[in-house]
Symmetry: C2
Subunit: 301 residues, 2 copies
Amino acid sequence: MDAYLKNIKEWTLVAQAVRRFRTSDRSVVVGPGDDAAVIIGSKGRYGLLTVDMLVESVHFRKREDLKKVGYKAVAVSVSDIAAMGGEPRFALVSVGLPRKDPARRAQALFAGLGQCARRYGVSIIGGDINRSNRLVIDVFMVGEVEKKNLVLRSGAKDGDTIFVSGPLGGSLKSGRHLRFIPRVAEARFLVKHFNVHAMMDLSDGLSMDLSRLCEASRLGAEIFEEDIPRSAGVKTTAEALGDGEDYELLFTLGPAQARRLSAGRFHFYPIGRMTAAFKGVRMRSRGGFLKKLPPPKFRHF
Amino acid sequence: MDAYLKNIKEWTLVAQAVRRFRTSDRSVVVGPGDDAAVIIGSKGRYGLLTVDMLVESVHFRKREDLKKVGYKAVAVSVSDIAAMGGEPRFALVSVGLPRKDPARRAQALFAGLGQCARRYGVSIIGGDINRSNRLVIDVFMVGEVEKKNLVLRSGAKDGDTIFVSGPLGGSLKSGRHLRFIPRVAEARFLVKHFNVHAMMDLSDGLSMDLSRLCEASRLGAEIFEEDIPRSAGVKTTAEALGDGEDYELLFTLGPAQARRLSAGRFHFYPIGRMTAAFKGVRMRSRGGFLKKLPPPKFRHF
């Protein structure tokens, strides 16, 4: 979903329009609404399908280094596959290229696409190239996950501890959104060694994304302001909650599993707990005051 | 690939950049360069993956009925799957929506997407919606085909008869490009009952697409001007050869199979034969004169 939107309500209608598609195809395990769609695969596995579009002047600056943009375009989809517990396999890339200097631009873009694809074991096996007045890159990714390791947004349970995989905020300002590390290794570690109840990646900010996880799991969440890890240079909780484009994992574990997690290879940050006592997200401030999080703000270029 | 291109050579470089991606993944049967990518599937089947982007003012007019545009966006990908001998199954849809009136536009667009998807048994299982200054729709489609029924562009043999599945030309002018029938039924009939050597769909015009089939099969083609079927209202052979957006099937059969074809359920048009005697496409005119086809012209809005 997108940014700078004056009329959030209109866009909510649009997003709902996608989810409205129902299917009677029994090969579809999960349709629209999670980080990736899930279909029946081969040999005890599910297929994972996701798509992410980047638009010039919306997701990256007009004069941005296109190698970085290419990297990001693949990394965003890799992050979606990781958030389902899976591993990325194949990508197809659609590009709308402005008329000016297409070969040079394409070369830089494809260098970045290829770099990220190689790093995460993704084969780019197809594409479509068109003219467009602004640069548009759309990456389709196919991943897979063992059936037992699939994690959805909807599985959180009352009393679960909520974790994030890294500090939040300032991704756009610092340029980290162009070079972030999709958390495949962390997600695979988690699904192999823990019973992860719910997971998603943080693309639109903790405030909005946690409220989505809550909605999918039909629960509320209480988070603790002092436990929310902030990226270097991030001065306010509001930025850590709302900036977006962090691409860290957000996940929940039952209390016993949560206690075991601290001994693992990676550092994860507990930030709160799921609750059946209310809906939505509330934050307990440093002063102990519990407040409902305000409607999330979109922020992009 | 796109139209209106002043510098075809630059764009050829761009297209080559996509094909340059090599993979060592043995699950990839066919990478970039055919109508769809082919991966190992389950139960004696291959998975087919294709993506097609439509851009406002390039592939459809700014004020076009968006229900029709949605129909076309799905139909183009269905046609790619059919051209591999397969059946479409799942789609994910990325949309870049202009800021003005997004809900109304999305509603019309999704009505068209849904209409075409239902007609061809496709489940729309995901999507990504963003803001964009011009409308962009990108459809990613997953299909499948029995291993024995897969047909590539590269399998044509010396002496094969070349067929098309319908009359050509005038698709943009007549508006047929917004309501064409992807030839799934015809393609499935062909692969089930005939040994189809090579097949593709006609998106950029017979002249360009046949030259691609020739290149993939490392052969030449001789076609007969008087045998090229023209759509109603198409007055010149040049239009039938170059207009594009016909989405008819182009395929080749060995001589014995070709003779048997006329007895089938559908009407197919023999237009020439494959040859090892030269490379490229030559056309024998009504006067008996054999001419090399000129470099193909792109034509879009």
